[in-house]
């Protein structure tokens, strides 16, 4: 059981690391949003899953409800995160931010 927990947590950490690196490395605002919006979301999913599993160690109704509550976070994040991403990207578009393109870089 612990193995699963460790696995999930590490996976989540890796995804989050990807997100963090991506935020730093990507060339422009729109591309940065990709790792930020997705990798982090999945990172949360994985890590919360790990923690929820760990929480179920001492199984009882309370801990089950608690785990469900944690999944509520995940549910919420899955609804909210893309929306937030979308909102930010929309803001960028409306603000008139031009996106980075390959062609431009070459030219």
């Amino acid at each position: 059981m612990d193995l699963f927990v460790v696995f999930f947590l590490i996976t989540g950490l890796i995804f989050s690391l990807g997100g963090a690196i991506g935020i730093i490395r990507m060339p422009d605002f729109y591309t940065r949003l990709h790792p930020a919006g997705k990798l982090d979301t999945l990172g949360i999913l994985a890590m919360v899953m790990g923690l929820a599993l760990y929480n179920l160690h001492h199984f009882s109704l309370e801990s089950l409800l608690l785990s469900i509550k944690m999944f509520l976070i995940v549910f919420f994040v899955f609804l909210a995160s893309p929306t937030a991403t979308h909102s930010i990207v929309d803001a960028g578009m409306r603000a008139g931010l031009r996106h980075w393109t390959k062609k431009k870089r070459k030219g």
Binding site: M26, L33, H34, L42, D90
Partner: protein
């Protein structure tokens, strides 16, 4: 029954039916709220349950039209189909993420990526379907929905060509099936 853009339900048609529909909508909201309460609270003392009931009633009474603005018959069906759709979505997400992870850690990342914006039109009608599709697009490979309007026109920013190529494709079909809409 239509919903205006500011979220107020406009009641037209037979008042009795309208009331019934609102009441059903209220009832479902109430139940949903009460379930949420129990999950959140985790206490089964009478006082807490009473409070939960009152709170749920309160929220449901004032805001039922937000959660279920237009009560169709198929909510339950949609719900079941949505549950079925979820694992697939998660799988897609994981795939997308590995793809993105690959891109991120690639030493010559800037050669790999090629951001551009594509536009396509779907025939989705209901708000919820469009939203689901938009969010799914945002969560999956290298694409982010920029705008999606009520006519079903999507503008998508994609990080590389192959992600863009996959759209709208299978995802649209899945979503359309969930919400029982024509493609």
């Amino acid at each position: 029954m239509t919903v205006s853009s500011n979220g107020i339900v406009k009641k037209d048609g037979n008042p009795a039916i309208v009331f019934l529909k609102s009441f059903c909508s209220f009832l479902i909201t109430f139940v949903l709220m009460f379930l949420s309460w129990i999950v959140l609270s985790g206490k089964f003392e009478p006082l807490m349950l009473w409070l939960g009931g009152i709170s749920s009633f309160f929220v449901a009474y004032f805001f039922y039209d937000l959660l279920f603005p237009a009560l169709g018959a198929g909510y339950l069906k949609i719900f079941i189909r949505f549950i079925q759709y979820c694992p697939w979505l998660i799988w897609e997400i994981i795939k997308a993420n590995f793809h993105l992870l690959y891109l991120t850690f690639h030493p010559r990342m800037k050669d790999k990526i090629d951001p551009h914006i594509i536009t396509f039109k779907t025939n989705l009608k209901s708000d919820i379907a469009i939203t689901t599709l938009a969010n799914a697009i945002t969560l999956t490979p290298g694409t982010i929905t920029v705008t999606a309007d009520s006519d079903g026109v999507f503008k998508v920013h994609s990080i590389d060509r192959e992600s863009a190529a996959a759209l709208p494709g299978i995802m649209l079909k899945k979503v359309a099936r969930v919400f029982g809409e024509k493609i």
